[in-house]
């Protein structure tokens, strides 16, 4: 009993320490990923999700990759005091420990420029998130209807 506890502690130190010393992008949890179907491939698509940092180190998202689009990038929509909306690249996003960052309509979104294939309702596509520590995380993003308002449709 005592020995097995010791072994477990030793094992967790051996295995746990090296992982804990990484920058922690494996502690990112993706929730509620969704996107809207596209009309053809001429128009850019957008995908939304929440990135939650469950670890103890800040994690920085530096880019996106997907076979679906040649130029995926995080963009942000801003609306000024005159009600005029504009959109532009965000650059890197740092998620602090215990915090989450939401990509949601009217705020930030994964802008999917130069679609290679049509986004078809009911299908999913893989979206890879590249982090500053060199790690990547791939999520399968469900494609909902064109008029979807959130992850539930």
């Amino acid at each position: 009993m005592r020995e097995s506890t010791f072994a477990a502690v030793a094992f967790s130190i051996l295995v746990g320490l090296p992982t804990a010393s990484l920058a922690g992008s494996e502690d990112i949890v993706i929730e509620d990923a969704w996107s809207r179907a596209s009309i053809g491939t001429n128009r850019p698509g957008a995908a939304y999700m929440t990135l939650r940092n469950t670890g103890s180190d800040p994690v920085t998202l530096v880019g996106l990759e997907t076979p679906l689009a040649m130029m995926p990038d995080i963009h942000e929509t801003t609306t000024d005091s005159n009600g005029v909306s504009s959109m532009g690249p965000v650059g890197e996003i740092t998620i602090l420990p215990g915090e989450s960052v939401s990509l949601e309509p009217g705020g930030m979104h994964a802008m999917l420029m130069r679609l290679q294939t049509k986004m078809v309702e009911g299908e999913t596509f893989p979206l890879t998130l590249n982090f500053a520590d060199g790690e990547t995380l791939t999520v399968d993003v469900p494609i909902l209807g064109i008029a979807a308002r959130g992850p539930e449709g």
Partner: protein, 207 residues
Amino acid sequence: MNRRTLLTYGAAVSGVVALTLFIGWWQVDGPSAPEPVAQRPLPLTQMEFQMTNQDGATVGPATLIGNPSMVFFGFTYCPDVCPTTLSDISGWLDNLGNDVADMNVVFITVDPERDTVDAMAEYVSYFHPAIQGWSGTLEETARAAAGFRASYEKVATDGDYTMNHTASVFLFNAEGQFASTIDYHEAREFAVPKIRRILARTGEQSS
């Protein structure tokens, strides 16, 4: 003064302060806030522009007179704001049910070079059936935006372009007078009553 009296006074004073703050908010930022005059759209009766709707019919501001109207600008190559606005509006319309049967709901493109009549027809078909899609020449688009005091601008992106544009929804009564604006991302609790107000006003005046 004993402690109880003090407490009562304290409660009364904070009550008055809270009420004053609330009245101030109501009149300055809240539902009673005056619309800034400079940015008010013209009445539909004073606007002049001509466009083509999703069915190929010639339309303009005069087409809207007689029923309450909801008008907004956008473009179909917009991945975020426009589908969100169209699906928000679809939600409001579902919420209002048959009450909106006669209301004009018009999406005017600020990007007629890409948003042809056919493109608009296909795009609006994915949303609430009441939503029309209007497309005009560049010149007519500019005249329409000027009437609504809306602005838009073509912005180059990597080998492509996007449009910055006014994302507010404009409400007019059946006589074509401007009633109010629903700002982008305004909560349904505020949007639906604003729509009900232009519907109700029409009901009163026609009876």
